[in-house]
């Protein structure tokens, strides 16, 4: 907890949740996306339909799901289907507006690695792998990313491209996505513990908002390239009392995500 009365993680989760204000159908990834989307559902987006890759459409979890396959996402849901149908009829059919992902490494164009650090055959660190991320990145209409910044995570070149972002830039990405008939337009926002990044016309991420207490020096110190910063850089409004109450009392009372 900082002097501001909220932690960096709490700010990150609140900022990520607010980005979902206009989304209708969101595919919820494991970890931080899970808590951010559940916060959005309780605040800015009460009509948000949550899709869990485990096979749930229209979840209404009575508690924060402990994993993306928690029984609380089933009880009271609109529909429970096989994973073939979830990935085929919902995601691949183009019914998902936002895919919300975490990442171990990301590059300036929003390409994501969740597979290995180091060489694939002889990895320094073996990460979980794709799960549904690869097809979410391709088939969700847009992709939101939530992750903490560090020189090890915001890298010049990711060690393995698990899930495509804007590839080598917007022009190439748009051409390939159009030619290949992808549903997805690619990543549109990255929310970190320091700020909010959107993607500019070249397909590169640009810092549009800095969280209260964070500095541009901190941003530059936790990113491997010289970042683009908006000429009209905003300060993210701090978490509201209600957002903090929901995170602390309902969604993460154990402080697993917000420590």
């Amino acid at each position: 907890m900082s002097e501001l009365g909220f932690s960096k993680s709490e700010m990150m989760i609140a900022a990520a949740a607010r980005e979902l204000a206009t989304a209708r159908v969101c595919f919820v990834g494991v970890g931080l996306p899970n808590i951010a989307v559940n916060l959005a559902k309780r605040t800015v987006a009460p009509d948000l339909e949550m899709v869990y890759e485990a096979g749930v459409f229209g979840a209404r979890p009575a508690r924060l799901p402990l994993s993306i396959g928690d029984p609380t996402i089933v009880t009271g849901a609109t529909a429970v289907v096989s994973m073939f149908e979830l990935f085929g009829y919902y995601l691949q059919r183009g019914l998902v507006d936002v895919g919300f992902l975490g990442a171990a490494q990301i590059d300036r164009f929003g390409n994501i690695n969740t597979t290995v650090i180091g060489d694939y055959e002889r990895p320094r660190t073996r990460l979980p792998g794709s799960g549904g991320a690869c097809e979410i990145a391709i088939n969700a209409r847009e992709v939101f990313v939530i992750m903490r910044q560090s020189k090890r995570s915001f890298v010049d070149r990711i060690d393995f491209r698990t899930s495509p972002g804007n590839l080598g830039g917007a022009e190439q990405s748009e051409a390939i996505r159009r030619a290949g008939g992808w549903n997805g337009r690619g990543p549109s926002v990255v929310v970190t513990d320091l700020g909010i990044w959107h993607f500019d016309d070249t397909g590169e991420m640009r810092l549009d908002s800095l969280h209260p207490g964070a500095t541009l020096e901190e941003v530059r110190a936790t990113i491997a390239w010289e970042p683009k910063v908006s000429a009209d850089l905003q300060t993210t409004p701090p978490p509201t009392a209600e957002e903090l109450r929901l995170v602390r009392e309902e969604l993460d009372p154990g402080g697993i995500y917000t420590k």
Partner: protein, 308 residues
Amino acid sequence: MTGKVTSMRDAVAALVRDGDTVAIEGFTHLIGFSAGHEIVRQRKRDLVLARMTPDVIYDQMIAGGVARKLIFSWLGNPGVGGLNAIRRRIEPASLAGEPPLEIEEYSHFGMVARYTAGATNLPFMPLRSYFESDLPKANPLIRPIKSPYSDEVLYCVPPLNPDVAIIHAQRADASGDTQIWGLLGCQKEAAFAADRVIVVVEELVDESVVRADPNRTVIPGLIVDAVVVEPFGAHPSYVQGAYDRDNRFYLDWDPISRDEDKVQAWLREWVYDLPDRAAYVEKLGAERIASLRPGPAPSGSVDYGSYR
């Protein structure tokens, strides 16, 4: 009402053979821990273990030395962290001269599509994934395929037909007609894809219970070789309506799994030194089990109508 009902010991002894490809499926829900432990206890060897999310059960099985290869799409302790026993068999820095665990990696939809191809007896299944990803480079079994109706190229995966699929479920009758509610994962596809099927259930019911609601049936006895009745056999994962995920277990596993000695000690205490699941449940204790019971949430009944 005996039919195909047998003990876990006999089912695993008869149906799981060294070198087999074994799929214990169940996506976060209905994970076949008791079957996995019996495979460790019987010291099966050289298995190819397939599973979308290897989870703690495959961390334990691979620590138990049963596997030579892993086919998967997401390798983690969900909501907690990594699967450390498996990582020690993959990362060169921790291998200490031993041969690494062979891996064959897909995305979730890729694994689902592999089982679906297996279940439908198709030589491949197309999907819109893997574009511009490094996964096809890492796994040459993920291949491009061109549409016969346009110039469009997408990817496909080959069928996965396990020698044995092991499925945990809420209930079955003695013939193996099996019903599941809650998350269905890819169990139906894995079972139809497999040559042999073991069903492990919380409850054995009369066939009239199954036949009262035929739309609820996920696996027909036609493809089932053995029915094992083991309440709490999915612990520490959960069974919709019966018990909750034991999250404490998943958290506790993380520090254990970081230390090979602790892992082997755990396997001795909870697997090798116990005869069966009943002993495991007793050792776990009534209080812990009671703490996992959910409140009621009935589905309600629908009418199929009697047509004579």
